[in-house]
């Protein structure tokens, strides 16, 4: 994975010094909260329901054991012994003190980490495919391009005060494992008919209040124009994105209101002008970055496992992903134990995952946007030893992409923006389907819960989505069906009236019963829904 050189290190170190100074001036009263807020947000520091919350960046979801150990140490030293992995591949700490924030950033800088631009109206962490560099179906590892864009977007002087936040995802496969079309800019690295690599740009996607799927505004941008084209997209947004209404300020609204054709025209016009400025990095930079993502020294060995232990076999079937090298798989560490808090890991668990990465995965881990952790390159012959250790530590739940693998935002338990609690609901649903054994009969079923309309739980993209609302001061839950974050990107449809907490747990069970009754062949829930439509579900729920 990428390693800082003295330049990268100098930048994070300068950022730590800058923030220390800003925090000092805030504490002295030289900066008001209004003046300080955007500055601290651009270092990932929120003022949240219980305390300051710090969001640490995990660039394109990739980290090594040294970094994971450091994240665990931060949890112990400055927080309450745990961290929360997020739907943008980052990690959050909920109990931070402002007076410690500078020291935390300094500790992070020592291991080549930071919290730069993980919040604020600026370009955020660039996300990518959690199986990058391992998946069989990728054209090329997308992460060197994500790394290039990380550098381009960090401290970009023109784009520090955008109308609103800006999220970019980069993938390099037709299978979309990063919800690419639900980003402000989604990039797929593709090959044209001449065999040249380029970037296909999708601009104007997003969830939140007004979910939209990004249109493809340019099918092919040559790789030696990647940065210039991105800059053109951002400049048009900075100049013309709405600033009159916080809820209409994302680029998806601009693209929607102008129309994709007009937005594209403006981008192409800006792009032509920017090309004359020569802002593109030298192509040698991409060539410099790529070797950091070269394949580790894979070795040929056994290609199958001993399936005599049924628990182990189940975990292998569910939680491992085929690898481009047939002696390896990518293994998914579930952070969704039944009744647990989705995405949370204790410091002890983080230390263990770090050690396991070192022992079994060439010292590399990935954070999934679905709040699990990946060990990308595990030798098949090591799987049993790995699984045994995971299982002992409560990290071996075989539920990847099953109904128990719930994506949930922190919700009202942690977040001042929330209208309803999401975690207890996730726990109750997981428990219900575990107790009844029904969870094992459902196959792939992606359930996502958001505690408010900001949709940090990505509920619009859930096969089953749940949105928490405030109904006259009482928590209420809206159910939606048919969303998808994969390449068949779709936004869920609301079933009808909302439910209270107990009611929505029942409703989820009802909906899965309808699926099981109507399922044909090997259909997944989403397939059955797409085939039979909303009506049978609605009938079962409300009649």
């Amino acid at each position: 994975m990428y390693k800082y050189d003295q330049y990268d290190q100098a930048m994070v170190d300068a950022r730590v010094a800058e923030f220390r100074d800003q925090a000092k001036r805030r504490l002295e009263g030289k900066l008001s909260e209004d003046q300080f807020k955007p500055l601290r947000l651009m270092n990932g520091l929120y003022l949240q329901l219980h305390a300051y919350m710090l969001r640490v960046a995990v660039p394109y979801g990739t980290l090594n054991s040294t970094q994971m150990h450091a994240l665990a140490d931060i949890a112990d030293k400055y927080d309450r012994g745990y961290g929360h992995f997020t739907t943008r591949q980052n990690i959050q700490y909920n109990w931070i003190k402002l007076e410690d924030a500078g020291d935390i950033l300094a500790d992070l800088a020592k291991v080549e980490m930071h919290a730069i631009q993980t919040s604020g109206n600026c370009i955020r962490n660039i996300s990518s495919d959690h199986f990058a560099g391992a998946a069989q179906d990728e054209l090329i590892d997308p992460r060197p391009y994500a790394e290039l864009l990380r550098q381009w977007s960090s401290f970009h002087p023109e784009f520090m005060y955008l109308p609103r936040k800006f999220k970019i995802a980069v993938i390099a496969s037709d299978t979309d494992r990063a919800a690419m079309k639900l980003h402000d800019i989604g990039i797929q690295i593709v090959k044209n008919t001449s065999g040249e690599l380029g970037a296909s740009f999708f601009v104007g996607g997003g969830m939140g209040r007004t979910p939209m799927i990004a249109p493809n505004i340019r099918e092919f941008v040559p790789l030696d124009q990647l940065v210039t084209y991105s800059e053109a997209c951002l400049r048009v947004y900075n100049r013309y994105g709405r600033r009159d209404n916080k809820y209409k300020a994302r680029i998806k609204i601009l693209v929607h209101e102008l129309g994709a054709e007009e937005y594209t025209r403006q981008v192409e016009e800006e792009f032509a002008l920017l090309l004359e400025q020569g802002i593109e990095p030298p192509f040698a930079e991409l060539e410099r970055i790529k070797p950091f993502f070269a394949d580790p020294a894979f070795e040929d060995s056994a290609k199958t496992v001993d399936r005599s232990d049924p628990d182990f076999a189940l975990w292998v079937d569910r939680n491992t992903n085929r690898h481009k090298h047939d002696s390896y798989v990518s293994a998914v560490i579930s952070l969704k134990p039944v009744g647990g808090i989705p995405g949370d890991a204790t410091a002890e668990q983080m230390h263990l995952m770090a050690d396991l990465a070192k022992d079994y995965s060439f010292d590399e881990l990935r954070v999934m946007h679905t709040q699990n952790i990946v060990l990308p390159h595990v030798k098949i012959t090591d799987l049993h030893a790995l699984w045994t250790k995971l299982d002992e530590a409560g990290l071996g739940t075989p539920n990847l992409d099953q109904i128990g693998d719930i994506i949930a935002c922190p919700g009202l338990d942690y977040c001042s923006l929330a209208n309803a609690r999401s975690i207890p609901l996730a726990q109750k649903i997981a428990q219900r389907f575990d107790e009844t054994g029904k969870g094992d009969t459902l196959g792939e079923l992606k359930l996502k819960i958001s505690g408010c309309i900001n949709a940090c739980g990505h509920h619009h993209a859930g096969h089953i989505g749940i949105l928490g609302v405030d109904k006259k001061g009482v928590e209420n839950y809206q159910l939606s069906l048919g969303g998808s974050e994969a390449e068949d990107t779709a936004l869920g449809k609301i079933t009808g009236r909302g439910f209270d907490e107990a009611g929505v747990v029942e409703a989820v069970e009802t909906v899965t019963d309808v699926y099981l009754q109507n399922k044909q062949g090997e259909e997944r829930f989403l397939d059955t829904y797409n085939r039979i439509g909303m009506a049978p579900f609605k009938e079962a729920l409300y009649d």
């Binding site: 003022l47 219980h50 309450r80 402002l98």
Partner: protein, 98 residues
């Protein structure tokens, strides 16, 4: 009743106006009546509190119980981690918050 809440600037801890200072315990919160704006402006400008706001509450067993569940969760801690709340040993915690 109207109580005031905010965050301690340095530590981020949730605090409640007691009439003389800011306490992390909602039991110490007092009814500020019509004086919310004046008190908040004064306390915020002197940095004794950060981003205060007024909360409607109902006096319940001698303690201000915020009317909205969000503020009750704010007062004590996340419902899903009773061990991290201000009252980890209190079996009635759930009833008070939820």
């Amino acid at each position: 009743m109207i109580v005031l809440t905010g965050n301690d600037l340095k530590s981020g801890a949730v605090t409640w106006w007691t009439g003389t200072h800011w306490s992390i315990h909602i039991e110490d919160a007092v009814d500020v009546g019509e004086n919310a704006a004046t008190i908040m402006a004064r306390e915020e400008s002197s940095r004794r509190v950060n981003v205060p706001y007024a909360v409607e509450a109902t006096l319940t067993a001698g303690v201000a119980r915020p009317n909205h569940i969000k503020d009750r969760i704010r007062a004590l801690g996340p419902t899903v981690r009773p061990d991290l709340t201000l009252k980890p040993a209190d079996p009635d915690l759930g009833n008070w918050v939820i």
